[in-house]
């Protein structure tokens, strides 16, 4: 064997040995004792580091959990069984965790908002449509039907129905909220899954205009707001629900001629 090669091997080996030794000593001297619970909790979290809980990552979140600075149900993506296991570890109660679900607040699909501004032949994406003249529908507030929310959903919990309006498949939904960010029209909102009264429209046009655009729009007549004691407020020709004051029994759903405000069936 070449002598250079032996020297090379010996040198690299020696250097490696010296550095490894130094690090081993430093590790002994500088070791930081950590609560062993943190590692256990961290293992039960999804490990996706998505930031959905508002922390820098899963590890950060588990540190806060162990310190009691974060709620057990703070992770929107974690498997419910794992959340229970974490609650067991920390001696906490995981009950009262309400799942958040996205609600699509527009029902004006192709059959309801039938009159078209123009035919759109561009790339099938809401963000592209929003730039190019605002899509094919006459309504400038409603769903574009390009399916950006469907594409954004990492859990396949969104589908585009035949009418051109997205639907949420609730059993698959984790409540991560990515669809909300994807929608250029802001018609998707996160709500607790047991919330059942919604105004399915975002149109601020006056009654005459919005009626001509779409058969299910909110005309802004205010019939739903009249006896609601502040549960529904009229804001610029649109009924907006104030969920703190809402009493579903006081709202006269039958007075809404277009069916924009509705009480839906939710699993309780």
């Amino acid at each position: 064997m070449d002598i250079t090669m032996i020297i090379a091997l010996a040198t690299m080996g020696g250097l490696g040995f010296v550095f490894a030794g130094a690090l081993a000593i430093a590790d002994k001297k500088l070791r930081v004792e950590e609560n062993p619970l943190i590692a256990k909790v961290n293992e039960l979290l999804p490990g996706a580091n998505c930031g959905g809980c508002g922390n820098a990552g899963c590890y950060d979140f588990s540190v806060k959990l162990v310190e009691g600075k974060a709620p057990v149900n703070g992770c929107p993506v974690a498997d419910p069984d794992n959340v229970k296991a974490i609650a067991m570890l920390l001696g906490m109660d995981s009950e009262g965790a309400v799942k958040m679900i996205p609600r699509i607040l527009c029902r004006g699909g192709n059959s309801e908002a039938a009159k078209k501004l123009a035919d759109y032949y561009g790339p099938l994406s809401c963000s592209a449509m929003a730039i190019v003249s605002g899509g094919s529908k006459l309504c400038f507030y409603g769903c574009l039907g390009g399916g950006d929310c469907v594409t954004a959903c990492p859990f396949n919990a969104m589908v585009m129905n035949e009418n051109g309006i997205p639907e949420v498949i609730e059993p698959l939904c984790t409540g991560c909220g990515l669809c909300v960010k994807a929608c250029p029209r802001n018609i998707i909102e996160m709500h607790p899954e047991d919330r059942n009264v919604f105004v399915f429209c975002k149109n601020h046009d006056d009654a005459k205009t919005s009626k001509s655009l779409c058969s299910v729009s909110c005309l802004g007549c205010g019939a739903c707001a009249r006896k609601s004691d502040g549960g529904v407020e009229m804001q610029n020709f649109l009924g907006v629900i104030n969920y703190d004051k809402l009493d579903a029994d006081k709202i006269q759903f039958e007075k809404c001629t277009t069916g924009a405000i509705q009480k839906i069936d939710v699993k309780s």
Binding site: I7, T11, M12, L15, F19, A22
Partner: protein, 190 residues
């Protein structure tokens, strides 16, 4: 005087990030907030100075005497990796919040090409120990300067109406390009 020129050259004229385009990953990744940009810059500066010293010593007293100059890249990588491990341990012990703020980018200093570039420049330009230290410090200051400038611009950029396709990394790289062109203006001063 020579040391001063080396310092200015490394910090401004031949800025590692904006003239050599080394270390773009942390430049894009940690330049969201000025505060974390400054701490990242300081951590990198520290690693750069210590790397400059250790890699100079290893090159001058181990590799050259044994005629093993061809081993400089693996041995420098070894030095950098060990140092970063060490710095990580120290920061974790001394300041937990800083450790968490730097996050993944602290271990990523290991693979920061600016550090390896520094070690290779030192052996290539045959600097002595004092020059190496000044060069390492200057490079670190330049890195911190670039990161802080970028963070300041990006904090303003948060409020700007950037087209969707340009949001995030694309606009950052465009801004980096413009910033680099501005730094070309320093080219003639030494």
């Amino acid at each position: 005087m020579n040391l001063f020129i080396i310092f200015i050259s490394a910090a401004i004229v031949n800025n590692f990030v904006l003239a050599y385009f080394l270390g773009i990953c942390p430049f894009v990744g940690v330049s969201n907030k000025t505060s974390s940009a400054v701490s990242m810059g300081m951590a990198t500066t520290f690693v750069m100075v210590v790397t400059a010293i250790v890699s100079y010593l290893i090159f001058a007293f181990v590799l050259v005497p044994f005629k093993l100059e061809f081993l400089q890249i693996p041995s420098f990588i070894l030095v950098i990796a060990s140092l970063v491990q060490f710095v990580e341990m120290v920061i974790k012990k001394v300041s937990q919040p800083l450790y968490r703020a730097l996050g993944i980018f602290l271990p990523l200093i290991t693979t920061n090409c600016a550090i390896l570039g520094l070690a290779l420049f030192i052996s290539m330009r045959e600097y002595n120990l004092m020059e190496s230290v000044v060069f390492g410090f200057g490079a670190g200051v330049g890195f911190t300067l670039a990161l802080t400038l970028m963070a300041g611009i990006r904090e303003e950029l948060e409020l700007a109406d950037v087209p969707k396709g340009f949001q995030g990394a694309p606009i950052t790289l465009i801004v980096a390009g413009i910033l680099a062109m501005a730094f070309m203006g320093f080219a003639g001063i030494i």
